[in-house]
């Protein structure tokens, strides 16, 4: 058996090919440009099939050919996944990466995932503007063929949502905001009457009643009118997940760290960690920035400012929001990339012993323990505590 493994490893390293293809990459100004890149570790000379990755279209099991119309998208996915793999392999000891096993990268994948059947039937609906890391098959599988980890990149499809003007006017016409406005109108009217009385230039009760009614009417009607007028104007939303490097890094991070952070737990901590490593691999402090033509209407996840912790941030609904990313990135800024990333990685390892995935009750104790075990100094503890106060924990 050992001999077989040795022969396999020897042959796979001897027969690994390289090839050139066109991919979407970021230039020094962080703009997405088309560039010819070298892809490595290929086991096929004609297809995107390598030792670590096999790029497939939708539910097909055949790798995409270099001369296929999808080769640009396939090359982008293969190239950036390799970058992410190299980062994790060079920096951390991960069981998952020690024994190479190709994971399937499915582009244009609009089918849904279900753990008993792998891919759902089209009748269950089609999926767009998303990317997802698929866990390997378990005992709940009811189909014959088992599957390993896969990353599915859904195609982009413009979706119409309410415009920002409509959402703003909806907020203005909501109860508390409107009552503040009307109270303000009443106060200003009272001030005017008061000043007129002092000056002796009052106009009589009828005049003031009419003015007040007019002011209240205008204040109440204008935002509602704006809301009504802006209703037909829709905002477009889409995401071409296979063409954005940070999305590819994000999904690969889920796979690389899955021995510690199970990917089926869609928690803010899990998403924040994947965003953190995506930003580190992409050498950026924001996700989804400068993605014109490949994403629209989605909020950029940025580490530029801080936010205060609220208990609602533990909710799975907000897993994709930026709080946990901001907090983890602030650790990197405070401790420096090497120490900060080491603290985060060691904390993730410690998290694998815990069942919970909450920011406050799981991640923070794990970070504290990681600092104590690997970077124990009073300055580091003060730095960490200063960060906790800054983020309102």
């Amino acid at each position: 058996m050992k001999l077989l493994i040795f022969i396999y490893l020897l042959s796979s390293s001897l027969f690994a090919f390289e090839s050139d293809c066109k991919a979407l990459v970021r230039n020094h100004k962080r703009k997405l440009i088309v560039k010819t890149v070298k892809i490595k570790d290929l086991v096929s000379k004609t297809h995107f099939h390598g030792r670590y990755f096999k790029v497939l279209k939708r539910n097909s099991e055949d790798a995409i050919a270099f001369n296929s119309p999808d080769s640009f998208r396939a090359c982008t996915v293969y190239y950036h996944s390799t970058l992410a793999k190299d980062y994790f392999k060079n920096n951390f000891e991960l069981k998952r990466l020690q024994r190479p096993r190709a994971i399937k990268l499915r582009i244009e994948m609009n089918l849904g995932f279900e753990e008993s059947v792998h891919m759902m039937h089209e009748n269950n609906g089609l999926f767009y503007n998303n990317a997802v890391t698929i866990p390997p098959s378990t005992n709940s599988r009811i189909i014959d063929k088992p599957w390993f980890y896969e990353i599915w990149f859904a195609p982009k499809k413009p979706v119409k949502i309410d415009s920002s003007i409509y959402r703003a006017s909806e907020l203005v016409t909501s109860g508390p905001f409107m009552s503040s406005l009307l109270l303000g109108v009443g106060q200003s009217q009272a001030t005017t009457i008061g000043i007129d009385l002092i000056r002796g230039t009052e106009f009589g009760a009828g005049f003031y009643t009419k003015t007040l009614a007019l002011s209240i009417g205008v204040t109440a009607i204008v935002p509602s009118l704006l809301k009504w007028l802006s209703k037909p104007f829709k905002q477009t939303l889409y995401l071409d997940s296979a063409m954005i490097p940070e999305v590819i890094y994000h999904e690969y991070s889920h796979y690389a760290l899955s021995e510690f952070l199970s990917i089926d737990k869609h928690a803010p901590v899990v998403e924040g960690v994947a965003n953190y490593f995506a930003a580190i691999i992409g050498k950026t402090d924001s996700i989804l920035d400068s993605t014109r033509g490949h994403s629209k209407g989605l909020v950029e996840i940025s580490a530029k400012d801080t936010k205060n912790y609220k208990y609602s941030m533990e909710d799975k609904k907000y897993a994709q929001l930026d709080f946990s990313f901001k907090f983890l990135y602030a650790i990197k800024k405070t401790f420096g990339q090497e120490v900060g990333t080491s603290i985060i990685f060691n904390a993730i390892k410690l998290l694998s012993n815990r069942t919970g995935r909450e920011l406050k009750s799981d991640l923070i104790p794990a970070l504290k323990e990681a600092i104590t075990k690997n970077h124990n100094s009073i300055t580091n503890h003060f730095k960490f505590n200063s960060l906790l106060q800054e983020f309102g924990f």
Partner: protein, 362 residues
């Protein structure tokens, strides 16, 4: 240009290496607002010309010990013939009475500035000597020269015991950006502030307080216990999270300092602040210079502060809003922007208001 920069760096590094610890120079002071640079340069230039005078002044300061008082230094300086005659001429010429410090200041400030430039005195010792020549009100806050020298000597012994790095470097709390006031003395560095305000025993006690504060911060678990029936066994333990543990430690520290200064115990009325604790721990060698350097830069180390700009902005907004609302006609048009701005500010405040989740607040 590069050569000049290299030469400057070389001179600077030579200067840093050259600082030799002496009874009146701790080599820990770097900045002071109280010593005029031009006067120091003039004194150095002028005394360097007179080799005999220079030698005699150097001799006096080199012989100084931790027991030397300022009176002894002044007396020795006035024995130098050229300084003595200058002092006597001043006394004859001026209308000031003989008890006045004017002539003493006129005669001795130059040798003091010179000795500061020659690094026979550090900035704090220089401030003490200059204060003894001028203002008795200021002088009351500086303490005596010998007490400063004794304090520095004891602190250095403790520093060398606790720190492996024995090279004397400037205290991170001797910088311009943390200036503070002590009585009549303004713009003191935190190190000067602590050394003027507290004696050695008090500084040592502050070090102990800081050590227990540190232990609490480093603790892996902390909490509150409840003994329902008083049998000495904990019936319920509430574990504190890391952020609450930190806030509780800060609160305990504050209470401890308040208690010790109010009760007439060791601090008797002069409550130390967080900078004093940091200076004390650093001077005693409990916190290294490197650690202190990164600690003093941290926001929220002690408690969040509202910036003066923010306060000024709040006042301007309140006045401006009042004025606009008082102008008939204009007030009606200003309601929507005012309500929008205030709603935004309130929502931001509410977003930042998390104290309801905290068991302890600063």
């Amino acid at each position: 240009m590069k050569l000049l920069a290299l030469l400057f760096t070389f001179t600077l590094s030579l200067k840093l290496i050259a600082c030799e610890v002496k009874p009146l120079n701790s080599c820990r002071d770097s900045y002071t607002k109280h010593i005029s640079k031009s006067k120091t340069k003039r004194a150095l230039r002028s005394i360097n010309k007179d080799k005999l005078l220079k030698k005699k002044i150097d001799n006096i300061f080199n012989k100084a010990t931790i027991k030397t008082t300022h009176q002894e230094i002044f007396k020795s300086l006035l024995k130098i013939p050229s300084l003595k005659s200058r002092y006597e001429i001043c006394q004859q010429d001026t209308e000031h009475d003989k008890e006045s410090l004017y002539c003493l200041k006129y005669t001795l400030s130059k040798p003091i500035y010179y000795s500061y430039a020659k690094e026979n005195l550090d900035a704090t010792a220089t401030i003490i000597l200059l204060s003894k020549l001028s203002d008795s009100k200021k002088s009351a806050f500086t303490g005596t020269l010998s007490s400063y020298a004794r304090k520095v000597s004891l602190l250095r012994k403790s520093y060398l015991k606790n720190q492996t790095n024995t090279t004397s470097s400037t205290s991170p709390l001797s910088q311009k950006k943390f200036l503070k006031k002590f009585g009549r003395l303004k713009k003191l560095t935190p190190r000067q502030h602590t050394l003027f305000k507290f004696n050695y025993s008090q500084i040592k006690h502050m070090g102990k307080i800081m050590q227990s504060f540190e232990k609490r911060i480093l603790a892996l678990k902390s909490g509150l216990f409840f003994d329902y029936d008083g049998d000495g066994e904990n019936d319920e333990t509430y574990f504190l999270d890391e952020a609450d543990k930190y806030r509780m430690s800060v609160k305990l520290l504050k209470l401890e300092l308040q208690k010790k200064s109010n009760s007439g115990e060791i601090f008797s009325g002069s409550k130390p602040d967080f900078h004093d604790l940091l200076v004390a721990s650093n001077e005693l060698g409990l916190i290294s210079d490197k650690d202190l350097q990164s600690m003093v830069e941290l926001p929220f180390l002690y408690e969040p502060k509202t910036s003066p700009w923010k306060k000024a902005g709040e006042i301007t907004w309140a006045i401006g809003k009042g004025l606009i609302m008082a102008i008939p006609g204009a007030n009606l048009y200003s309601i929507i922007p005012i309500v929008l701005i205030e709603s935004y500010a309130t929502s931001r405040e509410q977003q930042n208001e998390t104290s309801d989740l905290h068991l302890f607040t600063f």
